[in-house]
Symmetry: none
Subunit: 191 residues, 4 copies
């Protein structure tokens, strides 16, 4: 599967513009809170094109948009742990990156895929998809933990706890309209 470049600025094609717009809007207003008309307007795509690229319509688009968002998250994880001396340092960088995104970008004021996938029409398929994505985040984090010296079991536990906490902090941060609680995670867990 090819994803629209996360940082590209050049004019993307119709399919990619649909994914990017859908991701942004779904994340901010939820699946049911976002109308196709809005997505179409923002991506300057004609109505019929959506069903050409995504035959199953809105739900199809949501799943692909979630995949694209997840890809961005994995890149953040990699960037955070790349130069870290130990797991706590990488985790701290990770939290600070997410806090910064929270402050700068409306789309990062909650778990980007929960907003898309926990409000879908067919809870079964959407839930499964959410599980796959969240599992990937934890697996990737655990991989970095092992590379930084932790045993498999410890790495898995540390990764799971970190991502649980980030999820919870996103919720509180959203309610408080403040990234403060995300920045405080390292102190809570490692400090």
């Amino acid at each position: 599967m090819v994803y629209p470049a996360h940082m590209g600025t050049e004019q993307a094609n119709t399919r990619d513009r649909l994914i990017t717009s859908a991701a942004r809007l779904f994340r901010q207003k939820g699946y049911h809170g976002t109308g196709l008309a809005e997505i179409l307007a923002e991506s300057h795509a004609p109505k019929g094109s959506l069903y050409h690229h995504f035959p199953a319509g809105k739900s199809d688009l949501a799943l692909v948009a979630a995949d694209w968002v997840s890809q961005g998250m994995l890149e953040i994880i990699d960037a955070s742990f790349a130069d870290a001396a130990d797991f706590a340092e990488g985790a701290t960088t990770f939290c600070h990156k997410l806090a910064k995104l929270f402050d700068l970008n409306d789309s990062w004021q909650s778990c980007p895929i929960s907003t898309i996938l926990f409000d879908g029409p067919d809870n079964g398929a959407f839930r499964t998809h959410a599980n796959t994505i969240l599992t990937n985040w934890i697996k990737r984090t655990s991989l970095h933990a092992r590379e930084l010296g932790l045993e498999k079991a410890d790495a898995d536990a540390a990764a799971e706890l970190l991502l649980i906490t980030i999820q919870g902090a996103w919720t509180l941060a959203r309610a408080r309209a403040s990234s403060e609680v995300i920045r405080r995670i390292p102190r809570h867990l490692y400090g």
Copy 2:
């Protein structure tokens, strides 16, 4: 404000039935995912009644439903810490109670008020309301922590961390369709 009794079995009045049905449906399908027609049907309330009891309509009902749900959460917190020897024991009971609810009841498979309030039409008012409710949960938990011997600052930190973790665990548990991760919280935090 009078809330419908949480455990009552007698036939409730129209207003209470509306709140109960709305709470159940909003929690499972989100604010925008739930139609008024559904709520009306489930609560056997006549069509015009809703705007008699809740002049501002759907959003009004959602706020009251969230309040009612929050009340139930506070009762669970109190029940968990009432007979605890120390904070960790109370927190453990708390997590087990929530895990049990997750297993038994579809309405408890995610943070009950996030689903209602983070998908609303007027993000400002809804976000503030969510913040108030989550703050109340943390405050109440902190109060129990102090009664169990912790200093104010430590009590606040412990309560915040516990509720952050529960929030995050709810998200993962929902994706995995398993309460296992909620039950594992005490081991992560106190083990």
Copy 3:
């Protein structure tokens, strides 16, 4: 069930106007060939009203419209045989009345209920409904046959043959854009 008066000229209520317009349009253009927008425009009814009066929407409206049309057909049968000396005379009057309607009114250029019901979305329910209506027409005709002196078995056979022939003649008349073949039925059957 109350039907809108077949001959009334006074301003009918919304529900009745919907039925009348739907009947006219469905008969001329078929079920799928007629859009709700057309029916709404002709009956000067707002979009939402349709689903208030006919919760199941288009299909619901089609069934009721077919009932209304059938009522009109039963009245024509009664009027044809009321003053007849024998069955052949009544049948002849019946054919001539239908031929006249064919010439005067676009809505009578084919079997009025076949056009509505043999093109529906849920063939099962629509087919059954068509069967009930056609059976009623035959039964009513057979009743007149018995009152005019025929034995039960002969009356049933004569009624069935007459209505089969009218059905077939409607088809040919429509193709030829001429009522001639309907007028020729008595000669074919009794001449």
Copy 4:
């Protein structure tokens, strides 16, 4: 004009597959009730092919499909009267053949061309086409009648009455979901 062989089993070309699929679907669900997407899917034809073979699109395809179906009907007429001793015997065979087809094949549960042509977009052209086809059926039947000894006028009348009755019986048989009434035609007309 070349028609796809009615009984052929070899892999037909795209154009023929389009005609066959269109005929089957139009007959069962009507012109407006059948979408091009369905026809394309069933005939495994690429999306753009349709307008290559039928420049005028759906209506073009419907006319050709009706012609193909009509060809099949003429073959049945010929086969029915080929070995008959008199007209009544040929007509009886004809009715029994149609009844058998009704029982075996969903596509023969109503007049195969009425379903296609009396629901079309441009009533003028479609009606004329239907008339041509129905006239051909009657002419062919009349021809057989003359060969079996009837005078021209009697042959025309007998053929017209037979085909009127078959049309009407198709309608009733469809409503009743039973071919019984088609089998009863000979008794009604010649018995």
